[in-house]
């Protein structure tokens, strides 16, 4: 555990991607199985200990530290695991030596909701502050140390000089501590057999379109739907649904796991059918409707009936034993179209190609699209093979221009992570009438992004100097600053006092110059609802 803790600390304090890769690669080479496999699983967020959650840690600390002192400390440090690692009282008497990573994993796995409040403290007593931090991060699965699972995989490839794409592909069917993966990469054993299992194949992704124009002879256009990108995989009769990050989300969408009649790997957009939230009759509802289905471990019959999911297909990676990823997009499209009659239209349709005589006409089509489930257009090179990740020049996403509205800053809260001392989370509102006639502001949204570091410093100072009230970690500010807020769409919502919920709000411009009474009214925002 000490070496893993040292790695975690070093990664926290290392900025450069190459330096991070070197640190992880060195650890993976110098550490034995199964410790290195568990460490790798921790870095990629693949570990899950049902009994140990952030709330478990808070409950554990509540028995040891005054709640107010805890809240103040947590707010200052900005991270529950770190606050705990620092506040943990030095144990009395003798303790067992620090556990290895594998021992820690075994102990954490054995904990139950009943035993965790007794077992976890014993484990923490065996570690120093740095070890406690690493252990709690590992246990709760939220490392937040600037290492994406992609980076960890590249580091693995670098450590043993194997191609990163192969690592990505072999990785997915395996479980921590990945002994077969290490045996293949480090010892030259045969690669793990993933072809016969329904594993995740990495997605092909797109760059935002920055060119002012592209030639439609080379590129085909199709709608970019506002759902979640999914991969549906059936191998040997077994079906799995994966999210964009490769998480298995089959359990949340059981209606999709027994409808694919052939072995295949398909790429598409998961959407919810219905016109109750906008969209064409019997077609796709807005993202707002889909949101009802996301993040659920199990799903009720009512949910299934009210928000039935289907997949709008974009592409085919494999079909009936043939890997077609090397084929050009146009050829794959033909194969996908040929497959469609065999797929039940209750759960599948195909994303239509948008044809236009020229680029200007395409731009006009994009502008006039009013369907709530459309996010914009995708432009795909007709001869592009299906390659993992973002490869320049092959696929572009061309999102609809965002909507804009002027809001007034109302509340601010400190961020987490590297923003832990800055007021970086902003709640803003619109007027519920004429501000000069005594109208009030109603909160309409919250944003954490869209500003530079220099602007963040200035905003932080503004918040501190304009605070009129404090509610725990939240500061209320005087109504003096206007944000021009960009957002993708707005929907009716019962959860908010204003009756509105914005999607993807972010700060577009900070209007230091604009008087707050000139900010927009709720009515203006409500008029932008497309549902």
């Amino acid at each position: 555990m000490e070496r893993f803790a040292a790695l975690v600390d070093a990664l926290v304090y290392t900025r450069g991607r190459n330096d991070k890769l070197r640190l992880i690669a060195r650890y993976l080479r110098d550490t034995l199985d199964p410790d290195r496999g568990w460490a790798l699983a921790a870095l990629t967020g693949a570990l899950d200990f049902p009994a140990v959650k952030s709330s478990t840690i808070r409950a554990m600390m509540q028995q040891r530290v005054d709640p107010e002192l805890w809240a103040l400390s947590r707010d200052f440090v900005g991270d529950t695991a770190e606050t705990t690692s620092l506040l943990w009282p030095a144990p009395d008497g003798e303790h067992d030596p620090p556990p290895t990573v594998s021992q820690a994993v075994a102990l954490l796995s054995a904990m139950t909701r009943k035993s965790v409040q007794a077992d976890l403290p014993q484990l923490l007593d065996r570690l120093d502050p740095s070890g406690r931090y690493a252990l709690l991060k590992l246990a709760t699965g939220a490392m937040r140390i600037g290492v994406s699972s992609r980076l960890a995989k590249v580091a693995f490839a670098q450590a043993f000089a194997v191609p990163a794409e192969e690592v990505e592909e072999h990785w997915h069917g395996l479980e921590a501590p990945y002994r077969e993966l290490f045996a293949w990469a480090a010892e030259g054993a045969a690669p793990p057999d993933t072809a016969s299992r329904p594993t995740f194949r990495p997605f092909m992704l797109a760059h935002p379109l920055e060119e002012s124009e592209i030639d439609l002879a080379d590129y085909a256009a199709e709608w970019k739907w506002d759902g979640i990108r999914v991969e549906l995989v059936r191998v040997g009769g077994e079906t799995r649904l994966y999210s964009r990050s490769g998480d298995d989300i089959s359990a949340a969408f059981p209606e999709l796991t027994d409808v694919l009649p052939i072995d295949a790997v398909l790429d598409g957009e998961l959407l919810v059918r219905g016109s109750h939230q906008g969209g064409e009759e019997g077609g796709a509802a807005s993202f707002n409707a889909l949101q009802q289905r996301l993040g659920r471990k199990t799903v009720s019959r009512k949910m299934l009936n009210e928000y039935p999911a289907f997949i709008r297909l974009y592409d085919v990676l494999m079909a009936e034993g043939a890997d077609v990823r090397e084929l050009p997009w146009s050829e794959r499209r033909t194969r996908l179209e040929a497959l469609m009659p065999r797929l039940p239209d209750s759960h599948f349709d195909i994303s239509e190609i948008v044809s236009a005589p020229d680029f200007a006409a395409l731009a006009a089509i994009r502008e006039s699209a009013r369907d709530a489930a459309i996010e914009g257009l995708m432009l795909k090179r007709r001869d592009s093979p299906y390659v993992a990740g973002r490869k320049t020049g092959l696929w572009y996403k061309w999102k609809r221009d965002p909507l804009l509205i002027d809001c007034v800053l109302m509340y601010a809260q400190r961020g987490s992570g590297k923003r832990s001392s800055f007021y970086s989370d902003y709640t803003f509102g619109c007027w519920n009438g004429d501000p000069d006639g005594g109208a009030d502001l109603l909160p309409v949204g919250k944003a954490y992004s869209g500003f530079t570091d220099a602007e963040l410093k200035k905003l932080d100072r503004h918040v501190r100097q304009h605070t009129v009230n404090r509610f725990g970690p939240v500061r209320e500010v005087d109504r003096s600053l206007v944000f021009e807020v960009a957002f993708d769409s707005v929907h009716a919502s019962k959860r908010h006092k204003s009756g509105l919920a914005m999607r993807f709000p972010r700060i577009h411009r900070i209007r230091w110059d604009k008087p707050p009474h000139e900010a927009d009214r709720i009515d203006t925002l409500r008029a932008l609802i497309r549902d």
């Binding site: 600390d9 304090y13 103040l72 590297k418 001392s421």
Partner: protein, 334 residues
Amino acid sequence: MARDFAWIRPEPHGIHVAPADIWIDPSHPVPRALVTHGHADHARGGHGETIATAETLAIMELRYQTREGARPVQYGETIRLSGGVDATFVPAGHVLGSAQILLEHAGERVVVTGDFKRQPDPTCPPFVTTSCDIFVTEATFGLPVFRHPPIFTELTRLIDRLHADSDRCVLVGAYALGKAQRVIAELRQIGHRDPIYIHGAMERMCQLYEEFGIELGELRLVSDAEKDAMRGAIVICPPSALNDRWSRRLPDPVTAMASGWMQVRQRARQRNVELPLIISDHADWDELTATIEEVDPAETWITHGREEALLRWHQLHQRRARALALVGYEDEDD
């Protein structure tokens, strides 16, 4: 008899002692001031008369280029102010010349600590516990997450890193008054004899420390040194120079910072620090609370820092306390 302590009052710009019409660490110019120590947020220039230790006055002279109105006192010496107020300067263990000020009037005793710490420091005499009715304390690190490790363990990490990357240098950001000299003096104590390179902004303060008998060993200016000569060496600069263009003249520096804030990972990350050294000249949580229990005052006044948490601690321990909300105190760089 109920005591009201009307003779000493916290005002937004400092603590005012009415019978003597004198201010403690005022943040704007006043006719008469008592100054606890030389950090800029406590020792402002432009007062008519400034009463402080000789070391603090020398530091202020270095900064403000004048000795006008300077009235030195020694540790332990009691001076009689007008209006029947006695003032005694007691070591605070914070930096060279730092003092707590004990004020006595009509049988009532108030101690103003300025800033203080309890860890040993070779550059100043250790904190002396002084009994009093009102204890006026700082709370820079007044959160229970702050527990400063012994400086020895931090310097060991510094030396280890120096040896691990011997063709690089380790650049340590350290406050130019106090922290820099303490780090140097402590390095000498653990046997580091090599020349230490310093930023030009620290040269005169280091000389002043030596004039007061603090041995700092061989110091060299970065501006006089060849890049290659600094490989494998320790370089010390003010925190503001850490990520400045100035540091480009150094051989691939490992960026370190000596500060109590380094205990919090994201604080270190915000400053692009690779090697955080938890070295503080302030009391940590355990020192603050132990000191208050030792002094056992009837009431604690908290000048600046994380006052909410320390107030809460008082409440939990059935002790009286209030936060003063003085303006002008800073703690961002220590």
